[in-house]
Amino acid sequence: MTTLGWMDPVLRSARPQTIGALLRYFRDLDQAEEAFQEACLRALKIWPVNGPPRDPVAWLILVGRNVALDDVRRRSKSAPLPADAAISDLDDAESDIAERLDSSHYRDDVLRLLFICCHPDLPAVQQIALALRIVSGMSVKEIARAFLVGESAMEQRITRAKSRVTRADVPFETPGAVERAERLGAVAAMIYLVFNEGYSASGGTVHVRTPLCEEAIRLARLLLTLFPGEPEILGLTALLLLQHARAPARIDGDGAIVLLDDQDRRLWDRDLIAEGLALIDKAVRHRRPGPYQLQAAIAGVHAHAASSKDTDWSEIDQLYATLERLHPSPVVTLNRAVAVNKVHGPAAALAMIEPLAEPLAGYFHFFGVKGGLLMRLGRAEEARVAFDQAIALAHTPAEAAHIRLHLDRLIKENQPA
């Protein structure tokens, strides 16, 4: 790190809390962002000289607020701008504001900021882009790169999304328990979207877009720090950690997808797995199961197994059955069928997914799984049709290549000897 390198992570990590508090103060997103920018510029000038403040977030909030007030004054051409030295002399004011801005205040500020990005009228991509821009502070250029679109197109999308949420009127009063729980649920879903966008990539050639996954984990951890006793937030964070732990094994040297069964598990990140399992341990103690906890538990069963053969598939089948009851969805049933195939064989699994043909008619994985099961049952012609449908629905070249691999195997096995 350079001499000033220490400041970058400090400013980056202070961003959600600072903008959240400034938003509560100004009730205007653009103004809050501008004030934060200005406060950061002052910090870059003042901190290297005076050393870092005891509470950087409180410092930035106070300076951001003052700068904006000065701006108003300057526009009204009254009082002159104070010198930087005066602004740096904040010790008393800083400890005062630090006391008032205790963690419970920060908590609702950050939650509100995240919640604003989850407006139900916004398509998923815009929610994600907005959160990455406003909360994480990623540049438009970085976000555009992650979504494989041009910078100006992404700029437009974010501007549109912003004006949509600005008109949404999210109340600034401290939320009640029910409202807080609702916000938490919406924010958790949005963070999961950010991760999924990085994990499965809805287009382009790079299959795992690591920065998005890492950002989602950072946001989940932030949320968990603020709500340490929420089992579903423990579950969400555990789920992301356990899935991300497999990233190094998911793509081979040629950029092709490696399925869970075939992954080299020595490549899995043991640190992330250990942390994910520790969080599941904590969540389970609450005895309030939910979808994220169950999915994390499933990922945990995989993480425990040395190989696909050693996996406790009936445990996974059970967990999916519970998830189906709690949160019925054709995708959950499809996933359960993969476990059923291992426990009861391909015929049982195929019977299970047959009713899903209609709801999952446009779903790549449905045809991938169906083709795989048909192949195992020796119904080669039907398998080929399913694989062709999967290829037509593939989002990335890696997905298509993976199915083609099955097709090739199918053709090879069915060639007359």
């Binding site: 790190m1 390198g5 992570p9 400090v10 980056r12 990590s13 202070a14 809390q17 950087p56 950072r218 951890r221 932030l222 968990l224 720090t225 340490p228 006793g229 423990l234 964070t237 640190d271 250990a274 942390e275 520790a278 969080l279 341990d281 904590k282 103690r285």
Partner: protein, 121 residues
Amino acid sequence: MLYALLCCHDEAVVRSWTKAEDDAVLAKRHKVTERLAAKGKLGPALRLMPTTAATTVRMGGEPVVLDGPFAETKEALLGFYLIDCDSLDEAIETAKDIGRDEKVVFEIRPVKLFLPNGIAS
């Protein structure tokens, strides 16, 4: 005299480090700890998981188990045990056992990295 160095850090900042930044900090420290180890002046070292993985057991009367790290400022860190348990439940029970009839608080933190001799390998 043996001394314990307790590493305190702004966790939000550490969480914001990129992998490269984190590696750079470890590499920088490694240069020092290796020198200490060569002189026989280094004991075990460990890195804890984030406080989001922490559970707190508050003894005195009926023990209370809370999610999250120990956050009070009145009590000071006076010592610690390293225990090997199969589960969080076992760790909690062990803490209750050790602190029986005391008014003590245990923060239980899973260990991310344990180096018995202070340095890797």
